[in-house]
Amino acid sequence: MNSPILLQPDETFILNVGPQHPATHGVLRVKMEMNGEYIVNAETVIGYIHRMHEKMGELKTYPQFLMNLSRMDYLGALGYSHGHVLLVEKASGIVVPERAEYIRAIMVELNRIASHLFWFGAFVMDLGGFSPLMYALQDREHILDMLEAVTGSRLTYCYFRFGGLYNDVDDDFITAARQFIPRMRKSMKKYHKLVTGNIIFRKRLEGIAPLSKEMCRKYGASSAVARGSGINFDVRKNEPYSVYPEFDFDVPVYHECDSLARYMVRMDEIEQSLRIVEQGLDKLPGGPIMPDKKPKLIKPPVGDYYQAVETARGSFGIRLVSDGGKNPYRLKLRSPTYSNMHLFDEACRGMMIMDALAFMGSLDLVIPEIDR
């Protein structure tokens, strides 16, 4: 579809996609130099909702910064909190009770499913199909209800604490989660029939926006963007943390490198997350959710620490430079979509605008997470 003949440098015009455009799902702006429907050049402009979380990290104490992480990515908030608490626990040597780690993993996976479901709906809506979004939201609502019953909030959770959790899960949650798993598996079949098999949908994604392995590496892409390009990279497997080594799950990898591959990776990930939740509920040990011994004031020793976790959007890294005080000296948040989005400028050259926007949807963008 990408015909280089049409790309003459003259006769182009600038199309300003965003910051308020239906396809950008937030305040993202892409300045596209167009030749008819073909993109000659694109420049992504971000930072419209930049909030300087990193400075806030320096100004707040460690516990006070907890709630900021969930504001980064409002769809998969728990994954980011998980990274933060793991980092601080590692730095200050706090041992987390096993039960707390299991509950964390279950919650993060449920949150990941919720995030992927929303992405699925929004992605199909980008392609013009509206009903799948509504079906996805219905399933997501069950997850949010479960999470709300435990954490008290629906979207921007502040649930993990250094050393453990804010509160324990109850039997209601466990029953609800157990009921949810088969229901979700049934829904997945529905989605595959309604959307994945659909010829229009496949035609729109197959062979669109191929990303080579090399390109993913040069830009530091992760999550489905890398896994759809045949890179077997999932921080949960490559760099095991928390209780993930205890779970038996697969990392879906597709070698087609196109938008459909990225879609398939995320859809398969929902099923894998369901497996993790199922195993987590089976294995859930008893015991406390907070350690007996926990320093009153969190002051990690002087040094430089790094923690990577696999969030719904990819490899989230968090770096802490501590000077031994009660505030971090420097806190760097490496957001995965920041790197994934960066690909867009180069990859969308020569694409048609509708393919480019489908490609943008397949990157699973959450703008507050890019802008931080």
Binding site: E54, E58, K218, G303, D304
Partner: protein
């Protein structure tokens, strides 16, 4: 083992390693030790870090002039770029640029490259020619710290407003 390989490659950058007693390094965890006389800034050199504590394996501090060489080594060893950031060591009157690299395969090796520059004239060479993905990271670091990346194709504010002339993550920045 990629770890051994990249260690030997990177140590070629330091022909005569600074004699640092290793025990003190691991105990004091470099940079600053509270109170007393502030320790001198860390000398260039390659350090092996305990992964379970720090979250990365190799920590190389190099001079800005060696940066391109070091990054090329990592590129040849198929590392991907994780992030670039800065740290303001205002007591040493220095700025530090930190480059994080990792690999896609199961042979885990996280490498941190850092370089220190003078706070008054913070210039380091760009690595966008090796890793195009460094573009935004360098622009972000420029936004927050005012570090100039020499040779960068488009060093304009990315996250901050386009007319921003302040650098919020500098320790002497007052809002």
């Amino acid at each position: 083992m990629i770890y051994e390989k990249i260690k030997t490659t990177l140590s070629s950058l330091f022909p005569d390693p600074v004699p640092v007693p290793p025990e003190e390094e691991s105990a004091g965890d470099d940079q600053e030790k509270k109170v007393k006389s502030p320790p001198p800034p860390r000398q260039d050199g390659l350090l092996e870090r305990e992964y379970s504590v720090h979250g990365y394996h190799l920590d190389a501090q190099i001079s800005p002039a060696q940066l391109i060489a070091a990054v090329t080594m990592l590129d040849d060893a198929e590392f991907f770029i994780e992030s670039i950031t800065g740290v303001d060591w205002i007591k040493d009157n220095q700025l530090e640029v930190v480059y994080d690299f990792s690999r896609y395969d199961f042979d885990l090796c996280r490498v941190v490259i850092r370089t220190r520059i003078d706070r008054q004239s913070p210039v380091v060479p760009t690595i966008t020619s090796i890793y195009p993905g460094a573009n935004w990271h360098e622009r972000e670091t420029h936004d927050f710290f005012g570090i100039k990346f020499d040779g960068h194709p488009n060093l304009i504010p990315l996250l901050l407003p386009e007319d921003a002339d302040f650098h919020p993550l500098l320790k002497d920045f007052k809002a």
